[in-house]
C-alpha cells in the first residue's frame, strides 16, 4: 500500500496537478478571506471555510484530483500491472484514497497561515478554528471518496470528472430545492463544524459515506475481474 501512496504522491507533485490544486485553492481561499475578514472586519477564521468561493472552487478541484486515479490506469493498461501484483484490491483502493487525502490535508495545513495573519491582528478562536479544519477535511474526504469511486466506473477521465463535479454541485444546491434535504446536505454539516461544534451524527455521516464509496470502488474493481 505504501508503494501505491508513494507513487501517487510522486505523480501529484511531479506533475502540476498537486500545485494547481493547492495554488487555486489558496487563491479562492484568499478571496474568501478578503470577503469575510477584510470586508466585514471580523476575525472569524472558520467562516472562510464555509464561504462561497472556497466551496465553489472545491467543486472543480476535488474532481481534478481524483478523476484520473483509476480511469487513467484502465485506459493505459497499467491497471494490469497493479492488479496482477500481489497487492489486494482493498490496498490499492486505500492507497489511492489516502494519497489524494494527503494532498487535501496538506492544503488544509496551508490555510493555517491565514490563521496566523488573524492572530497577528486580533484574537481568533483557536478551538473553533480547529473544529472548522477538522470539519473541512471530513467534508473533502467524502468528495474525494466519491471522486475515486466515479473514476473506477469509467475509463474516461473527463466523464469521471464530470460525474464528480455534478455530484458536488447537486449536493451543494440540493437544500435550496427542498428544505427536507437540508439535514443530509454535506454543506450544512460543514456549517455545523464552522460554528465550533463537532456533531457526532455529522461526523458519522461523513465517515460512513466515505466508507461506502470506498467499498463500492472495491466492489467495482473486483467485479471487473469477472466481467472484463
Amino acid at each position: 500500500m505504501l508503494a501505491i501512496i508513494k507513487k501517487e504522491l510522486k505523480y501529484y507533485f511531479c506533475t502540476p496537478i498537486g500545485y494547481v490544486f493547492i495554488g487555486i485553492f489558496l487563491i479562492a481561499f484568499s478571496i474568501s478571506f478578503y470577503l469575510t475578514v477584510l470586508t466585514y472586519g471580523n476575525v472569524n477564521f472558520e467562516y472562510i471555510f464555509y464561504s462561497t468561493p472556497t466551496i465553489f472552487v472545491l467543486a472543480f478541484l476535488i474532481p481534478l484530483l481524483t478523476m484520473r486515479s483509476f480511469s487513467e490506469e484502465r485506459k493505459n493498461g497499467t491497471e494490469q500491472l497493479i492488479l496482477t501484483s500481489p497487492l489486494s484490491i482493498t490496498k490499492i483502493v486505500l492507497g489511492k484514497f489516502i494519497s489524494a487525502m494527503l494532498v487535501t490535508i496538506i492544503t488544509s495545513i496551508f490555510t493555517l497561515m491565514y490563521f496566523g495573519i488573524l492572530c497577528y491582528f486580533g484574537m481568533p478562536h483557536i478551538s473553533t478554528a480547529i473544529t472548522a479544519i477538522i470539519g473541512f477535511i471530513l467534508f473533502m474526504m467524502a468528495y474525494v471518496a466519491f471522486g475515486i469511486f466515479a473514476s473506477s466506473i469509467t475509463e474516461n477521465q473527463i466523464i469521471a470528472g464530470i460525474i464528480s463535479i455534478a455530484f458536488f454541485i447537486i449536493t451543494w444546491v440540493m437544500p435550496s430545492f427542498n428544505s427536507n434535504l437540508e439535514s443530509i446536505s454535506f454543506i450544512n454539516m460543514l456549517y455545523g463544524y464552522t460554528l465550533g461544534t463537532i456533531d457526532i451524527a455529522d461526523t458519522v455521516t461523513f465517515i460512513s459515506f466515505t466508507i461506502v464509496c470506498i467499498l463500492l470502488t472495491i466492489i467495482v474493481m473486483q467485479r471487473r475481474k469477472s466481467v472484463k
Binding site: 507513487k7 493498461g77 496482477t84 501484483s85 500481489p86
Partner: protein, 313 residues
C-alpha cells in the same frame, strides 16, 4: 508449474476461451500461437489473475490463482500486451515501484533493481523518463518490470511486437537466457520466433486449443508432397528426359527461367524416397549442371495454416 483445467471465459454470449486445459512443466518455454482474437491474451490474463474465468480452475505453482491470489501472483511476472507503463516515471523509479508492489524485501530491493536494470540493458537510460524512450527500450522496461522480484513464471504477451530486427534478436536472446531459470509462456503470431525459442507450442484458434506439441513434431505432422527444387544449367533441354531415367519421378515442372540461363524445376516423386542422390548422378550423365538442389522444409507456418484451416472446416 501451471495447470489450466477446463477453463472457459465468456463475455456475455461471446465465448472467448472455450474449455481449454493444458499443463506446463517447470523450466519449459511455451509458445502460445494463434491468429488475432484467438484468445491468447485472454488466456494469459486469466493465468495472471487479471481476469477471472467464467468456469474452470487455474493452478499456478500449486496454488489456485482465485483462492490464494497473493501467494500465486508472487510467482508470476507479467508483461502485458502493448507494454503499459507509467510514462511519467523514470526507468529506475518504475522498476523500483514494481519491486515495491511485488513485495521485494526492502533490504534487497535496491540491489535487485540494479541487477535487473543491468540484465535488461537499461543502465544507460535508467534516469530517463519512460515517455522519452523508444519502443524497444519501453519493451525492455516492461520486461524488467516483469522480471523484478525473480518470479518463477514469466508471462510475456507478444514481447517482440513493434521492434526492429536487431531488437527482436536481442529480446529473443534475453528470453532464451531467462528460459534457463524461469518457466516462460509467451504469445506471438511470429511463427519462426516460436519455433526458435519454445520447447512446446500451444496453437489456439477461436478459443479452442487445436494442438499442443513441440515445434518439430508439428512441422512433421504437416502432410507434404515429396518434392525437390533444382536449379540447373541445361543448354540441350534434356531435363524432360530425366523423367524416363528415374522411375520414381511423377512430374517435372519448370517454375522459373533465370537471367543467367539457368532454370528452376520442381521434381515431384512418388512415395517417400529421397531422389537427390539419383538426380545428382543422372543429371551429371546428361551433362546438366546443378546449381542448386534442395528439399523444402515444412515450416511451422504450414502446420499453423493447416491446423487453423482444418479447424475452420
Amino acid at each position: 508449474m501451471i495447470e489450466v483445467k477446463n477453463v472457459t471465459k465468456k463475455y456475455g454470449n461471446v465465448v472467448a476461451v472455450d474449455n481449454i486445459s493444458f499443463k506446463i512443466n517447470e523450466g519449459e518455454i511455451i509458445g502460445l500461437l494463434g491468429p488475432n482474437g484467438a484468445g491468447k491474451s485472454t488466456t494469459m490474463n486469466m493465468i495472471t489473475g487479471y481476469i477471472e474465468p467464467t468456469s474452470g480452475e487455474i493452478i499456478v505453482g500449486g496454488l489456485n490463482i482465485e483462492k490464494k491470489p497473493k501467494k500465486a501472483k508472487r510467482k508470476i511476472g507479467y508483461m502485458p500486451e502493448g507494454v503499459p507503463l507509467y510514462t511519467d516515471l523514470t526507468v529506475k523509479e518504475f522498476v523500483t515501484y514494481m519491486a515495491e508492489i511485488k513485495k521485494v524485501e526492502r533490504k534487497q530491493r535496491k540491489e535487485k533493481v540494479e541487477k535487473i536494470i543491468e540484465q535488461t540493458g537499461l543502465k544507460e537510460v535508467e534516469k530517463k523518463l519512460i515517455k522519452k524512450l523508444s519502443r524497444g527500450y519501453k519493451q525492455r522496461v516492461s520486461m524488467a518490470g516483469a522480471l523484478v522480484g525473480e518470479p518463477e513464471i514469466l508471462i510475456l504477451d507478444e514481447p517482440t511486437v513493434g521492434l526492429d530486427p536487431k531488437q527482436i534478436t536481442e529480446i529473443r536472446n534475453l528470453i532464451k537466457e531467462l528460459g534457463k531459470k524461469h518457466t516462460i509462456i509467451l504469445s506471438s503470431h511470429i511463427l519462426s520466433e516460436v519455433s526458435q525459442i519454445c520447447d512446446r507450442v500451444i496453437i489456439i484458434n477461436k478459443g479452442k486449443i487445436i494442438a499442443i506439441d513441440t515445434p518439430e513434431t508439428l512441422e512433421n505432422k504437416v502432410n507434404k508432397t515429396n518434392s525437390i527444387y533444382v536449379t540447373v544449367e541445361d543448354p540441350e533441354n534434356k531435363m524432360e528426359t530425366i523423367k524416363d531415367k528415374i522411375k520414381e519421378i511423377k512430374n517435372i515442372k519448370k517454375v522459373n527461367e533465370n537471367e543467367d540461363k539457368t532454370k528452376q524445376y520442381i521434381i515431384e516423386a512418388e512415395g517417400k524416397q529421397d531422389l537427390r542422390k539419383a538426380l545428382f548422378t543422372e543429371l551429371a550423365k546428361e551433362n546438366i549442371t546443378i546449381f542448386e538442389m534442395k528439399k523444402p522444409d515444412a515450416t511451422l507456418e504450414d502446420a499453423f495454416m493447416q491446423l487453423i484451416e482444418g479447424g475452420d472446416k
